[in-house]
Amino acid sequence: MLKRQSKTKIFFLSLIPFLMLLSGCEFKDIDKDVFVSMIAIDKSSDNDKPYKITLKFYQPTSSYKEAPEPQFSYLTQNGESLSEAIRLMESYIDKEIEFGHSKLIVIGEDLIKAKKSKEILDFLLRRPDIQMISWITVGRPTAEEIVHLVPEGENAAYPAIFNYFDENGTESQYIVTSYLFDFRRRLKEEGIDTVLPIIVIDEEKKHFKVNRALILRNNKEPHELSTLDTGIYNMLTSRAKVADLIIKEEGDYFIARIDSIDSKFKVNVSDTKKITIELEVSLVGYISESKETLQNKDLPYLNKLLEKDANMKFTAFMEEMIKNGYDPLGFRMNYKSHTLHNHRISTEEWNEAYKDAEIHITVKPGLKSTGTIQ
C-alpha cells in the first residue's frame, strides 16, 4: 500500500511541471469576452458579397437597479460567406466574440426569398457554439432594423424580444416559435414544411409586432400567412396555449376563449392514390366577451355555433394550404409513420395526389361556461 502510494505520488509530481508548460492557453477572463445577443443576416447590396451580418452585443452593467436602460453595441459587415464576415468582424472589436449566449437569429425577408435558407442553416449548425435552441425568425423589412430596435420598457436584464418566443413571456396565439433544431429537421425532412414567424416594427418604432408567419417549402415560393391564419395554424398544431375565436353567427356575436386545444390527424392513402385526411380538433374553453347576454342553458346551442364557425375557418385554411401544395402540419410525416416503408408512395406521386386531397375536419367544442356573468 505504501509503495503504491509513493509510486503514484511520484507519477503525479513528475507530471505536474509538464502540465504547467502547457497551461495558460485557454484562460480568458470574462471581461475579455463580449456576448452576442442576436444575429441578423441580410442580403447586402453588394453582389460580390451577398451576405450582411449584424451582431448585437450585450454591454454588461454592474448594477441593474441604477441603469435600467440596456446598453448594446452593434457591428455590421458584408461578406462573401457568413464565416468570412464574422472573421472580419473579429478584428473590429476589442474583445473576443462569444456566440454561446445568442438566442435569436433574424433572417431578412429578401434572403429567404432568395432561397438561401440551406446555406444559412449550414453555417448555423456547423459551428458548435451556436445554441440549437436559438429562435429563428424572419425580419421585415430587414433584419438589421429589427435588431437595432430597443423597444420601450425593455430592461437590461433580458431583451424584450426574447419574451415573445420563449413561452414564458407572452403566450399569444399569433406567435409561432421556431427553434433552430426544429428548423433544421423541417427543412431536411420532406414530410413537413417550415414555418417561421415574421417580425415587424410598428409605425411609431417603439414595439415589435409578431403576428404573421411564413411557410417555406423546397422549390416553392414562401407563402405568407395572415394573422388569422397564423392563429389557426397554432391552434391546429396544439402550440397555442390559449386562443380566442370570434364567432359571428346568426345574430350572435361572442368571443370564445379556448384554453385547452387538442388536435389529432390521420392521413390515409387509398389504393387509387387518393389522400384523405381526418383532422379532429377539440376546443375547450369559456366565453370571454359577448354582445348580448347569454344564458348558461344555451351552452349546447353556443357550442354548435362554435363548431360551425371553427369548422368553417379551419376548413378554409386547410383548403388553401392544400390547394397551394403546402403541408405545414406534416401530413406526409404522419402518413409515413404508419405505413411500412416499402409500401409507401413516392414523393412525386404524393405531391401530385396532394393537390386533390380531401380533408374532413371535426371540431369538438367544449364551452364550459359563459364566464363570470351570463
Binding site: 500500500m1 505504501l2 502510494q5 502540465l19 504547467m20 497551461s23 495558460g24 485557454e26 484562460f27 480568458k28 477572463d29 470574462i30 471581461d31 469576452d33 456576448f35 450585450y58 454588461p60 452593467t61 454592474s62 448594477s63 441593474y64 462569444e98 454561446g100 449566449h101 438566442k103 457554439d129 436584464a157 433580458y158
Partner: protein
C-alpha cells in the same frame, strides 16, 4: 536488606527535590516508615487512611492486614516500579522490612468538562474530563457490558503518561486490534501530551490530507463508537478520545441524527452534504465558468457575473485566492481572539470582506457572496478535522481549475474521490458505500 536498599536507592533518585518526604513513625513499638512526594499526595487521605489507624490499631500485624485490605493497596515488584508509582502519587510504607504501596494521589482534574467543541441542542452537555481514570469511569458507566476491555500502556519516555485502549471484545475485528497495538508499541517519542500527537504518530504517513482517526469528547458518541466496533484510545491529561478505524461518513454524522425523527435527520443530512459539495466546488466552479466557458450558465447569470466584474483589476483566479486568503486569515485569527477584541474583529471582517472590497472594485460582489457561502458551509461539517481537510482540498481544486478548466475541475473531483477510496484506516476502506445487506461493523450509523 531489601527494604533498606530500596529506601536508600529511592533517596538517591530523589535527592534533587526537597518534596520527597521520608517520615518515620514510632509508637508503642510499632514502627513504620512513610515515603512520598508531598505535592502529589492528598494529605487528607494520608491522615485518615494511614496515620490515624496506625495510632489506633493494636498491633503491627493488624495494621499490615488493614493496609492490604485497603482498596488503594498495590502490589510492588521492582524498585523502578516503586519509583514510577511514587511519581504517580503513591506512598511507600515500610513495615518490618516489607514494602507496600498505597495509591493516594491528589486528583483535581477529574470533573467532567462541559462540551466545548461538539455541542448539541438536546442531550448531555458533559464531556470527558482530563483524568484518564475518571474518563474510564464515565465510559464504563455508560456502557454496561462485561465484554468491555481496558488495556493500559505507558507512553512518552519523558512524561510517562498513561494511555488506555478501550474496546468491546465481542464487536471488534481482531486484526484491527492487533494493528493498533503493534503501532502503539512502535511509538517511542519523548513526549506525548495529547491525543492529537498520538493520532499523528500512530499513522505512518504524515502527509495525508484526511484524518485517519476521529476525535471526540462526548461520552455518548464514544459509546456509539464502541458499539459499532471501534477501538477507543485515551491519553491521561487530554479530554479528547481517539477512535479507529474510521470511515468517511463518520465525519459527516452528529449524535443528533439519532435524536431526531427520520425525515428531519434526512433533511439535515442532505443539508450537510450539500454544504460539503458547495464548499468544495463553488470557488473552483466560479473560476472555471468565468474564465473558461462562460456559456455554461444561463445568459442572465453570465451577464450578471460579467457586470459585477466590471472594474476589477485582477483575473478571476487571483480574485478568488485573494478573498479566500482573507477569509482563512479571519478564521484562523478568531480562534485566538481575546474576548475584548472579538467585536472589533467581526466588524473588520464584515466591513472589509464585504462592502468595502466591492466598493473599491477590488473584488466583484458575486465573489463576496461566494466566499461567505463557502465560509459558512465549511462549518456545517460536524467534525473539525474534516473541515480543515476540505479547506485545503478546495485550494487544490481551484488550482487545478485555473490550469485545466471545467474538465479539470471534474477530473480533479474524481481524483479526490479515488484518493479517498484508496485510503484505508487501519484496514477498513475509507470511502465505501454501505448497503443495508452488509454487516455494518465499522460504521457509526445505527439506522
Amino acid at each position: 536488606m531489601f527494604a533498606t536498599e530500596t529506601i536508600n536507592w529511592l533517596n538517591e533518585q530523589f535527592k534533587n527535590t526537597n518534596e520527597f518526604i521520608q517520615k518515620n513513625i514510632d509508637y508503642e513499638n510499632k514502627h513504620i516508615q512513610l515515603l512520598y512526594m508531598k505535592s502529589l499526595i492528598s494529605s487528607d487521605m494520608l491522615q485518615t487512611l494511614i496515620i490515624k489507624p496506625f495510632f489506633e490499631m493494636a498491633s503491627v500485624e493488624q495494621f499490615k492486614i488493614y493496609l492490604q485490605a485497603l482498596p488503594q493497596f498495590q502490589e510492588v515488584q521492582t524498585k523502578e516500579e516503586i519509583q514510577l508509582e511514587v511519581m504517580n502519587g503513591n506512598v511507600v510504607v515500610v513495615i518490618q522490612n516489607e514494602v507496600y504501596l498505597l495509591d493516594i494521589r491528589l486528583v483535581n482534574n477529574d470533573k467532567p468538562n462541559s462540551t466545548s467543541v461538539e455541542t448539541t441542542i438536546n442531550g448531555s452537555q458533559l464531556a470527558l474530563s482530563d483524568n484518564i481514570l475518571t474518563n474510564i469511569n464515565i465510559i464504563r458507566s455508560n456502557y454496561h457490558q462485561p465484554s468491555l476491555c481496558v488495556e493500559y500502556f505507558v507512553k512518552g519516555e519523558v512524561n510517562q503518561h498513561k494511555v488506555a485502549i478501550v474496546y468491546d471484545k465481542n464487536k471488534i475485528k481482531s486484526e484491527v486490534l492487533d494493528l493498533i497495538k503493534k503501532k502503539l508499541q512502535k511509538v517511542d517519542k519523548q513526549l506525548i501530551t495529547s491525543t492529537n500527537e498520538l493520532n499523528n504518530f500512530l499513522n505512518d504517513k504524515r502527509f495525508t490530507l484526511f484524518p485517519q482517526m476521529i476525535m471526540t469528547e462526548r461520552p455518548d458518541r464514544i459509546v456509539y463508537n464502541l458499539a459499532g466496533g471501534k477501538v477507543i484510545l485515551l491519553v491521561d491529561g487530554d479530554p479528547q478520545s481517539l477512535a479507529a478505524p474510521v470511515v468517511f461518513f463518520d465525519f459527516m454524522t452528529t449524535i443528533e441524527d439519532n435524536y431526531h425523527t427520520f425525515f428531519i435527520s434526512l433533511f439535515l443530512k442532505i443539508l450537510r452534504y450539500t454544504g460539503l459539495f458547495l464548499s468544495l466546488l463553488l470557488p473552483a466552479l466560479y473560476v472555471g465558468v468565468s474564465s473558461f466557458t462562460p456559456e455554461v450558465f444561463r445568459s442572465e447569470l453570465a451577464l450578471t457575473i460579467a457586470g459585477s466584474r466590471v472594474g476589477v483589476p485582477f483575473s478571476s483566479f487571483v480574485e478568488v485566492l485573494f478573498m479566500l486568503f482573507f477569509m482563512e486569515l479571519l478564521l484562523e485569527a478568531s480562534i485566538r481572539l481575546p474576548k475584548a477584541v472579538s467585536a472589533t474583529a467581526t466588524t473588520v471582517g464584515g466591513l472589509i470582506l464585504g462592502t468595502a472590497v466591492t466598493e473599491a472594485s477590488l473584488a466583484s460582489s458575486i465573489m463576496v457572496i461566494i466566499v461567505s457561502a463557502v465560509a459558512i458551509s465549511t462549518f456545517v461539517i460536524p467534525v473539525n478535522e474534516m473541515a480543515f481537510s476540505i479547506r485545503v482540498v478546495r485550494l487544490l481544486l481551484i488550482l487545478i481549475t485555473s490550469f485545466l478548466g471545467l474538465a479539470g475541475l471534474l477530473l480533479g473531483f474524481f481524483s479526490l474521490i479515488m484518493y479517498l477510496v484508496n485510503m484505508s484506516s487501519f484496514g477498513e476502506p475509507y470511502l465505501k458505500l454501505y448497503t443495508s445487506s452488509e454487516n455494518k461493523k465499522s460504521s457509526e450509523e445505527k439506522t
